[in-house]
């Protein structure tokens, strides 16, 4: 699969991908994920990535959902999400105004000379080598999802045995004044 990417922007490599990030604060209760994902499923929308973990407040979780949707259906689905009793807050994060991170671990074929090349590549991308076997390496890399895409593409040419990404998590960028306040 060959992919062309426009460096320096936040657009995804696939053609026509219209990515939106929803950050949803929910009460951490059984079924909440099913309720949230069900609203997408019943409309035939696919969730591109999903990350869930407990949030800063006790009893709450934050779900980061990345979807490929036009703005109009997204607005409707956001309103429907907000109607869920377990949903406390929803923000749509503008990719240009947020910090996004993702983690990827991958096992790749690595015999002979390849091993050194992969090691260098991992260093360049500030990744880590987690495990080594006779034929394979397991690597991890963290960063902006675009960076992970690039890394994944490079690994692809070496032969990926198995790969897992966490799905992106995101928070709004601090504006200048609040950045300063933290600095003080």
């Amino acid at each position: 699969m060959s992919r062309v990417r426009d460096y320096g922007t936040n657009t995804y490599p696939q053609n026509g991908f219209n990515h939106h990030i929803l950050s949803v604060l929910v009460q951490n209760r059984p079924g909440v994920l099913a309720r949230v994902s069900g609203l997408f499923a019943r409309r035939g929308y696919n969730i591109f990535s999903l990350a869930v973990a407990p949030a800063e407040q006790e009893g709450m979780s934050r779900i980061t959902i990345v979807v490929d949707l036009d703005s109009a259906p997204l607005e409707q689905i956001t309103k429907q999400l907000f109607k869920l009793i377990d949903v406390i807050k929803i923000s749509e994060l503008d990719p240009a105004q947020s910090v996004e991170r993702e983690l990827m671990i991958a096992t790749v074929k690595a015999n002979g000379a390849l091993r050194v090349e992969l090691q260098t590549l991992t260093q360049i991308f500030e990744g880590k080598i987690l495990a080594v076997s006779e034929d394979n390496l397991t690597l991890s890399i963290e960063g902006h999802p675009d960076k992970l895409d690039d890394f994944e593409e490079l690994l692809d040419s070496h032969g990926i045995v198995e790969l897992q990404r966490t799905g992106r998590v995101a928070l709004p960028k601090l504006d200048r004044s609040s950045r300063l306040r933290v600095a003080n």
Partner: protein, 601 residues
């Protein structure tokens, strides 16, 4: 807590906090505390423990013949009282039998609380006997649902279920209770309002309109030359009929009442244009099309109203009042969106109009528009042709006779099909909460159980179910319930031997190729025998002279249910009609009017 005012519920009983009782007792107590006086249900394995304390409770339990009936009865009860209807059934097949009424209540925003038994907590997920994933199955047809895992959690779960069902945009909720949760003991307590709110941090319905939007709405109303109030079911849910009447008196604006809003504004009022939409009358449909302002109050721009959305009311600005923020802009982008309770918002708009007037703002001249509208009304009244002597009855005639002979404030519950549209078109609804129907889901079989639920809530009212021969055969067994429980409803069965509404579509859009729509119900079943076998009085009517006397006889019988079977014309169509997906401009009028359709321009 913001409770919407409804008919007064029963006073809550007093129970001692900390008393050790079973989960089953706590469940029944909780229902009593919520003011439940009647519930509809059917027992079975997992819910069995709850049926024991029921014997000692003042709550009336109506034993149905099919769980779908329990659900629709709960809906009928809620429709006419505004209080949540309660249905209780066991696990597995009983829970799945409730799915249709839950979806029906969800679509029509009916407050309803369903309680389902579930297999013991230890067996959940093991494919135990009569286990099903009730919360999974009903997730998308309830406003909220909850599986309760401890008996101590029951009172809170019930309080939440009632609170959620009745506030904001009402809807059905479901509490799934495993058998061991009913059996094990708990310490009785009753959560306070504050505790309930604190337990639902994500649920805060917005009641009052935004002041700036209210101002804009008031200005727009005074500015418009061709305004129409588009009243929906939300008027009834918000108990806003009286406020609406005041707004109309104040502004002199025409009102259309949707299928869900029949009775929200009196049909006899000269400013009521009646029902719009697919089978709305020509004037109501056209007035919306030509309006320069639509004041949508608790209505949701359903496809049955708008026809082809792009061609709907092209010159109209839209004020959209709805308590559900997700309705704003879902179909039509409003110029003035107002999220809030219809009654409060209408009152705020009234106040604003008054102060604008006091400040010297005058209302635009609507006289030209009004004379145009009355011209349409004169030229295109609802019409049908009387049957020839010896031919089958006209369904419209039967409805007119039922209407004219009905005691004051008669409640009408209808099934789904042609008979439903005739009922809505030809009845004169002059009181709110007298029309009970399945609008959003269009559930055949709704009318008999819904009528029984309404009768249980209002035993002193006459309740007519207007049903079709198809619908009747879906839920008629509940007439046994009606007889044995002393709930003497009346059923007007318009027997046209066909799935008439589907037949009409095949006639009009499939070249009269009739496929699987002939029920042969003049031959089978014998509805009179069937009704009598269920303890009802039954009358068959075949000629116009018999119609009035049969209805009078039915109205005089109050010791058991009555079924009046009217043998009606199979080929009769419902008109006007906007074909699905067509523009409202392309409304098809009654064949006797269609050639003059140019008069609607």
């Amino acid at each position: 807590m913001t409770e919407q005012s409804t008919d007064t519920p029963a006073a809550a009983p007093q129970y001692v906090e900390g008393e050790r009782i079973t989960g089953a007792q706590a469940l029944i107590r909780s229902l009593e505390m919520e003011g439940v006086d009647t519930m509809f249900g059917y027992p079975g394995g997992c819910i069995l423990p709850a049926y024991d304390p029921m014997l000692d409770s003042p709550i009336r339990h109506v034993l149905v013949r099919h769980e779908q009936g329990a659900g629709h009865m709960a809906e009928g009860y809620a429709h006419v009282t505004g209080r949540p209807g309660v249905a209780m059934v066991t696990s597995g097949p009983a829970a799945t039998n409730l799915v249709t009424p839950l979806m029906d209540a969800f679509m029509d925003s009916i407050p309803m609380v369903a309680i389902t038994g579930q297999v013991p907590t230890a067996a959940i997920g093991s494919d135990a006997f009569q286990e099903c994933d009730t919360v999974g199955i009903t997730r998308s047809c309830t406003k909220h649902n909850e599986l309760v895992m401890t008996s101590q959690g029951l009172p809170m779960a019930i309080r939440q279920a009632f609170h959620i069902a009745t506030t904001g945009r009402p809807g059905p909720t479901l509490v799934d209770v495993p058998k061991d949760v009913l059996v094990s003991e708990m310490e009785w307590y009753w959560p306070t309002d504050e505790e309930v709110l604190a337990s639902l941090p994500g649920y805060r319905p917005n009641m009052k309109g935004h002041p700036r939007m209210i101002k804009e709405a008031a200005k727009l109303i005074l500015d418009s030359e061709r305004p129409v109030i588009y009243a929906g079911g939300g008027i009834l849910k918000a108990r806003a009929a009286e406020a609406l009447a005041r707004l109309v008196e104040l502004t002199g604006i025409h009102v259309v009442t949707t299928l869900m809003a029949r009775g929200a504004f009196p049909d006899d009022h000269e400013l009521n244009l009646g029902m719009p939409g697919m089978h709305g009358n020509a004037t109501a449909v056209t007035a919306m099309q030509r309006a320069d302002l639509l004041v949508a109050l608790g209505s949701r721009f359903d496809d049955r109203i708008t026809g082809k959305v792009d061609a709907f009311a092209p010159q109209a600005k839209v004020i959209h009042v709805d308590i559900d923020p997700a309705e704003q802009g879902k179909v039509r982008k409003p110029d003035v969106p107002i999220v809030g309770d219809a009654r409060l918002v209408i009152e705020e708009i009234i106040d604003e109009i008054k102060s604008l007037r006091a400040a010297g703002v005058t209302q635009a001249d609507t006289r030209a528009w009004k004379s145009k509208v009355s011209g349409w009304q004169e030229q295109f009244p609802m019409t049908y042709q009387q049957s020839q002597p010896g031919a089958a009855l006209k369904p419209q005639y039967c409805i007119e006779q039922l209407r004219d002979l009905a005691p004051d404030k008669t409640i009408v519950a209808s099934g789904v099909g042609q008979h439903q549209m005739f009922a809505s078109q030809y009845w004169h609804f002059n009181d709110p909460y007298t029309w009970v129907n399945s609008g959003g889901l269009g559930t055949m079989g709704f009318s008999i159980p819904a009528a029984i639920g309404a009768k249980a809530a209002m035993p002193d009212r006459t309740v007519w179910a207007i049903d079709g021969d198809g619908c009747f055969q879906m839920t008629a067994q509940e007439l046994v319930t009606a007889t044995l429980e002393g709930l003497p409803i009346k059923v007007a069965l318009l027997n046209n031997s066909y799935l008439g509404m589907v037949r009409q579509w095949q006639e009009m859009f499939y070249d009269e190729r009739y496929s699987s729509v002939f029920l042969d119900s003049a031959a089978l079943p014998d509805f009179v025998m069937m009704a009598e076998s269920m303890g009802c009085a039954a009358i068959r009517v075949e000629s116009p002279e018999e119609v009035g006397p049969a209805i009078e006889k039915a109205n005089s019988i109050n010791d058991r249910p009555v079924v009046v079977e009217f043998r009606t014309e199979a080929a009769e169509g419902v008109f006007p009609m906007v074909p699905a997906g067509a523009s409202n401009d392309d409304v098809i009028l009654h064949p006797t009017q269609q050639d003059r359709k140019g008069g609607l321009a």
